[in-house]
């Protein structure tokens, strides 16, 4: 079947398979979109810097509303994961003191919830058991669901991207160099998680994410890396106002466009692989963030984005190539462990602090993971 032909009737269909929708990702609205089912309950999540208390651990199948309140001092995120960290729903970018809602459709099964204070790592996890209906889907429906799930993921990322880029740009314009430096890798995290989607807009990508020297003759050096250069090289951002404004405008534009992107399963598979290639080509080499050396932030974000894309396909893959799923799980875990060694405080070790030997360990794990993820497309294409 053509995945392009898929439309919202599947989402809102009587099977109640509606995609989980994040309510709050884009700034606290409560529009439930096309979600069906009642969200009668309201499950409180108390998120702290070291805690993540979810009021209920057992639920009935259906749509549920989680209200996540960040009582900690760090920006946090909240996820509901199915097997293999398949994202069922998530809220990004919950600032300290803020409460946000997540509306998520959960068929019967075993899940995990996670808060991610500081936005990095595996998060603070709890199990969540959902009992009742576990509808069986046809393979085509499963694949369609993957596209829908991933689209929702993209939407929540772009929402957070706009918010964090706004904060970053404001800091630059206020001349707050320290604040801007802290926000730079955070804003980029949301960009890097969905990079292949963003890059599909060939006109915007170079002016948002181009590196110095990539411009054609007569073109100006703009975007994230222009501001990065000013922040880290000279520390003088007094002339950066126009670049900051332009960056935000372009990011807003890309967010709008990305939200309409419909990805077919093959594009998902290729996108997952492309994110790993991003790591191999730009992050392992330290080329991406050559002034700030925050490459490991981008590394982690690419990895998360790749995993989100692959895991969206998981139910289909599990049915068609369980060995591959097991191998991919192992290798995402291995890469995650390799990377976890370089956690530093609330962030990551600076790229220029890594030894050749350490980079090689990261590179080896990415090579292995890429080898496995590159097999996904053929499994999906069988359909």
């Amino acid at each position: 079947m053509s995945m392009h032909a898929r439309n919202r009737t599947i989402l809102a269909g009587a099977t109640a398979l509606a995609a989980a929708l994040t309510l709050a990702a884009c700034g606290g609205g409560s529009d439930t979109g096309g979600a069906t089912g009642d969200a009668g309950d309201d499950i409180a999540v108390a998120a702290g810097d070291d805690s993540c208390d979810v009021a209920k651990a057992d639920l009935d199948a259906g749509t549920h509303r989680f209200t996540v309140t960040n009582g900690g001092s760090k920006v946090t995120e909240f996820y509901v994961y199915a097997d293999g960290d398949r994202v069922m729903g998530e809220v990004e970018n919950i600032a300290p003191g803020v409460a946000r809602e997540l509306l998520v459709q959960l068929p019967a099964g075993d899940y995990e919830t996670a808060c991610k204070p500081g936005m990095i790592g595996d998060g603070i996890r709890s199990t969540l058991t959902v009992s009742g209906d576990a509808p069986s889907l046809s393979q085509d429906e499963t694949l369609a669901q993957a596209g829908t799930d991933y689209q929702r993921y993209v939407q929540s990322q772009t929402g957070a991207l706009v918010e964090q880029t706004t904060a970053f740009v404001n800091a630059v314009k206020a001349g707050d160099v320290a604040g801007a430096k802290a926000l730079y890798p955070v804003a980029r995290t949301y960009w890097e998680r969905i990079e292949p989607v963003a890059e599909s807009f060939g006109d915007l990508d170079p002016i948002i994410d181009g590196r110095e020297g990539d411009q054609a003759e007569g073109e100006d050096f703009t975007g994230f890396h222009r501001l990065e250069q000013a922040l880290w090289q000279t520390g003088d951002v007094s002339a950066m106002g126009p670049y900051a404004d332009q960056l935000l405008t372009n990011v807003q534009e890309i967010a709008t466009r990305a939200n309409d992107v419909q990805l077919d399963p093959l594009q998902l598979a290729n996108g997952a692989k492309a994110l790993l290639d991003e790591i191999a080509n730009g992050k392992i080499t330290g080329e991406e963030d050559r002034y700030s050396h925050t490459d490991l932030w981008d590394f982690a974000a690419n990895l998360e984005g790749s995993q989100a894309a692959v895991q969206a396909l998981r139910p289909y893959l599990a049915e068609n190539d369980a060995d591959l799923v097991a191998e991919i799980d192992d290798r995402f875990a291995a890469t995650g462990q390799e990377l976890a060694q370089y956690r530093s405080g609330d962030g990551w070790t600076s790229y220029d602090q890594l030894t050749e030997e350490q980079l090689r360990g990261l590179s080896d794990s990415i090579t292995a993971l890429t080898g496995s993820v590159s097999q996904v497309a053929a499994v999906v294409a069988q359909r």
Partner: protein
Amino acid sequence: MTSDASRDPRRAGLSRRRFFGLAGAGTAGVLAAGAAGGVIGHATAADPTAAGTAAATDAVPFTGDHQAGIVTPAQDRLHFVAFDVITDSRDDLVEMLQAWTAAARRMTAGQDAGPVGAVDGGQYAPPDDTGEAIGLPASGLTLTIGFGPTLFTAADGTDRFGIAGRRPEPLAELPSFPGDALDPARSGGDLCVQACANDPQVAVHAVRNLSRLGAGVVSVRWSQLGFGRTSSTSSAQATPRNLFGFKDGTDNLKSENGSAVERFVWVADGDPGADWLAGGSYVVTRRIRMRIEPWDTSTLAEQEQTIGRTKGAGAPLGQQAEFDPVDFTVRAGTGPAIPENSHVFLAHPTNSGTAILRRGYSFVDGSDGLGRLDAGLFFIAYERNPETGFVQVQKNLRMDAMNEYIQHTSSAVFACPPGISGPDDWWGRALFS
């Protein structure tokens, strides 16, 4: 490569992806009895057409008592690669060795690395062969595997794969020698593969595909390209020259000299580790940088005195022709014709008390920042025991006049198991069973 089948000219140039049914007996182990008498005496090349005249495009049989690539007439090109094993899973390692064996079996026969091939698979899967050897003949490709000491016991002392107890005692890190300037990043390794072929693209293709198949299990630690074999391992081969401009390999152990090869190259029953290593050998590799510019400005006399042979014919000093016997009693003027600090004097079995099979290649890795060629000899020696092979010779070279012109920059040692016996055999089977 002495059988008629392996010389059938119709097979030369056959394109990849066609199966070669090889009727020839295994190269390795089929040693013509040359040089009767003296155990080490060199085999004289009486009839150059008698052996080793298989076309450069032919396939070398993959199976045999011994691995191919040791006494196989030295091919023109080398890609040598050392790997670190990056998993602790014995199962994963074994699975990879089996996959490697299958791929090596195919590639040495001139086929694609995987059963599907570079271009015959589906559109959505990465091809199981990388494709750069499409249309190229087997080109004499040999793939020779070796296991390093750290495969048995890791540097931190752990026995990752439950084989620490099976490490033969001679498989140990080499001692350090005066003048060594070893780069650890270019030394050692848990596994090695020596790929030799008459076409560099075929050798590189083989190493690339094995590395690809090993993702997640091994990581390339270092690798070395070589050209212009610097040794003859068969008396049918004309002696090539190394980058000092001298014939190299004249007095090498030759495949035709069966008794010497048995005595000095192959691990025999009763040797340490013979339960899995009998019929195998040890390989020592040394990347030896030549100080090209000082050498090039030294006089011809100095060069010949350094080596102990003439530069033109390659004759031992005091003799006329290349294969005239090395005779240390011949005198020239007041001293011996072959100086006692010359390379040949010190390396010769008479003085070193042993023999090794040399199979090195020249290398030029561009130039260094000072405008000097980064060039030399990637020295490869096969022996029955490193201690009584390479180490013994190298110790004897301590006063070698040549040391002024060379510097050893890498070092490694591996145990190479015996040959693959049949269709179900795989690299390391005896070790891991």
